[in-house]
């Protein structure tokens, strides 16, 4: 490889990698900026991610989606893992958003005013006496500065916590803030 071409290759390579990373950041920031805001109720679990550090595991109330409210579920409820599911959320009187109905693979029509579709993936199920799917929304972790995770988890066991999330047009959810009751603990800047 000639000299100039190697330097050129290095510059292009660096810009491509930086560009790729920026593109992901832009996409995520756009969800925060434009997404529909919802507040979801959470319960704690724990541990630590090797690469990304301490985090609090969030167990959402809407993690369990009863088969009964899934409009196009097969009669025995059986659905493959990793099947996309669109859960329609509506706001209840206590301020938390809860599942109203759901639909496998594609959303069932447009949500009406005051409702929003969140996209999840079936992680397991259906289980339980009232058959329900276990659904992951890609927002199950909240990363905190080293050493602060444990304290939050202890608090979460004592009083209700919520997550303020933004939901994009396509149903992608993104955490905006972790709420201790009504008070935001950490607010997420766009970048």
């Amino acid at each position: 490889m000639s000299g100039q071409r190697l330097v050129l290759a290095a510059v292009v390579l660096a810009l491509v990698q930086i560009g790729f990373l920026s593109w992901i950041i832009m996409g995520r920031a756009a969800v925060l900026r434009n997404g529909q805001e919802v507040v979801l109720k959470v319960e704690p679990i724990d541990p630590r991610d090797l690469l990304r550090g301490d985090y609090v595991v969030l167990n959402y109330e809407i993690r369990n989606v009863p088969v009964a409210i899934v409009s196009n579920a097969p009669s025995d409820g059986d659905a493959a893992r990793d099947t996309p599911i669109f859960v329609r959320l509506g706001k209840d009187d206590d301020g938390y958003w809860r599942a109203r109905s759901a639909s496998l693979r594609a959303p069932a029509g447009q949500p009406t005013a005051g409702e929003v579709d969140i996209r999840g993936i079936i992680t397991s199920g259906p289980f339980g006496s009232e058959l329900a799917y276990n659904v992951g929304y890609g927002i199950d972790r909240f990363y905190v500065p080293e050493g602060e995770g444990r304290a939050i988890e202890t608090d979460m066991r004592e009083r209700p916590f919520g997550v303020l999330a933004a939901i994009a047009q396509d149903g992608t959810a993104q955490i905006k803030a972790l709420l201790d009751g009504q008070t935001p603990l950490y607010e997420e800047p766009l970048y």
């Binding site: 490889m1 000299g3 190697l6 330097v7 290759a9 290095a10 510059v11 292009v12 390579l13 660096a14 810009l15 491509v16 990698q17 930086i18 790729f20 990373l21 920026s22 992901i24 950041i25 995520r28 925060l32 991610d49 090797l50 690469l51 990304r52 550090g53 301490d54 985090y55 493959a80 893992r81 990793d82 992951g136 890609g138 927002i139 199950d140 972790r141 909240f142 990363y143 905190v144 500065p145 080293e146 993104q174 955490i175 997420e188 800047p189 970048y191």
Partner: protein, 371 residues
């Protein structure tokens, strides 16, 4: 251990004394060996790579600490700067003939790319699995290795691919699909390793392919997959021994393809044996016989060429003896009997190894490239 250059120089001096070659030839041989030695990794470049790995680890752990004193955008910006400076600075240094430092800088840049992926996951609380992030990192590093024609970066990409396979493999029960895509990744990395002239990457790739086979056997059906793994490995071994030049053209791993063939064969056969181990009927005896025959055949056919292969064969042989003992005789003797038998087996093994090693290193026999 003495370097290749110093060994050749000592040999050349001895050959001159014995009258095999003249002084001019000896000087030429020594000069050639010295030039070759310099091209391989020197002490300095190994230190440079280790330093780079430490820097890389520091970057990753710094990101994980999620330190709030520096705003996120600052951290992202710093990582972007490291990526840019690392790749471009490395290229400039490469042109100025500072190869080792250049490769080190490239490794740091690649680590910063991985760190940036982790940081973005942290910034936006993405819970998606780590394996996806590592795969993305692996792809980025592969592209970097190809663009910069860097051996160490290729090695890094292979290590990331193997890590990915391992992580997906151990958490397999959570996923719907077996990571077959690894075969494709391995094929691409194999080609890239030719372009970047990195035989070590090919060694690691071959080992991870064997691991892939073992994983597949464990997940699906040992008795269907493991025989294929063993047979394929035996075929690779046969090909490498029968047509060494063709094999070397294909693999270019310093004639060590038979070693990988033997490892794959043993892995597959031992898996079969463990699977059928409980009923110590004739099937077990047959597989044991095949394994022992395979080990002896490997030593006879290729043992002379490579000490590495001989040692893999010895270890395999010792493990196999233990296995036969545990399955076949366990019921009849007590613990004391086991220790007695183990002592006898080890003693016999030691005698056998000493005899083989003596034979293999008889004067006049050239020792092949060692692992």
């Amino acid at each position: 251990m003495a370097s290749y250059f110093s060994r050749v120089r000592a040999d050349a001096t001895r050959w001159v004394e014995l009258g095999y070659i003249d002084g001019k030839a000896a000087a030429a041989i020594a000069a050639d060996a010295e030039a070759r030695d310099r091209r391989s990794l020197s002490f300095g470049s190994i230190l440079a790579i280790m330093a780079a790995l430490l820097f890389g680890a520091a970057i990753l752990i710094f990101v994980a600490a999620n330190w709030e004193a520096i705003p996120r955008l600052g951290r992202v910006g710093a990582l972007f700067a490291v990526i840019f400076a690392g790749y471009v600075g490395g290229a400039v240094l490469k042109l100025m003939d500072h190869d080792a430092i250049a490769e080190g800088l490239w490794l740091i840049a690649a680590a910063a790319f991985g760190g940036a992926i982790a940081l973005i996951g942290q910034m936006y609380h993405l819970s998606g699995d780590e394996t996806q992030a590592i795969l993305t990192w692996c792809v980025g590093t592969t592209i970097a290795a190809a663009a910069l024609r860097s051996g160490p970066l290729t090695m890094g990409a292979v290590a990331l691919a193997s890590t990915w396979l391992f992580l997906v493999g151990v958490s397999f029960w959570r996923h719907a699909d077996f990571p077959h895509v690894f075969i494709g990744i391995a094929a691409v990395l194999w080609l890239v390793s030719f372009w970047t002239r990195s035989p070590s990457s090919r060694h690691l790739l071959l080992l991870s392919l064997i691991f892939y086979g073992a994983l597949l056997a464990g997940e699906t059906s040992v008795l269907r997959v493991a025989p294929v793994l063993a047979a394929l490995s035996a075929a690779v071994f046969g090909f490498a021994v029968a047509m060494p030049q063709a094999a070397e053209r294909f693999a270019r791993i310093d004639g060590l393809l038979p070693v990988h063939g033997l490892i794959g064969f043993l892995t597959g056969m031992v898996m079969i044996q463990i699977q059928i181990g409980d009923d110590s009927g004739s099937a077990f005896a047959i597989t044991a016989a095949i394994i022992l025959a395979g080990i002896v055949a490997a030593i006879v056919l290729a043992g002379r060429e490579s000490r590495g292969l001989r040692w893999i064969a010895y270890i395999g042989f010792a493990l196999e003896l233990c296995m036969i003992y545990v399955v076949m005789i366990q019921g009849m003797l007590g613990t004391a009997g086991f220790f007695l038998a183990a002592g006898i087996i080890l003693g016999l093994l030691a005698i056998a190894i000493i005899r083989i090693e003596k034979r293999m290193s008889r004067p006049g026999v050239t020792e092949g490239v060692q692992s």
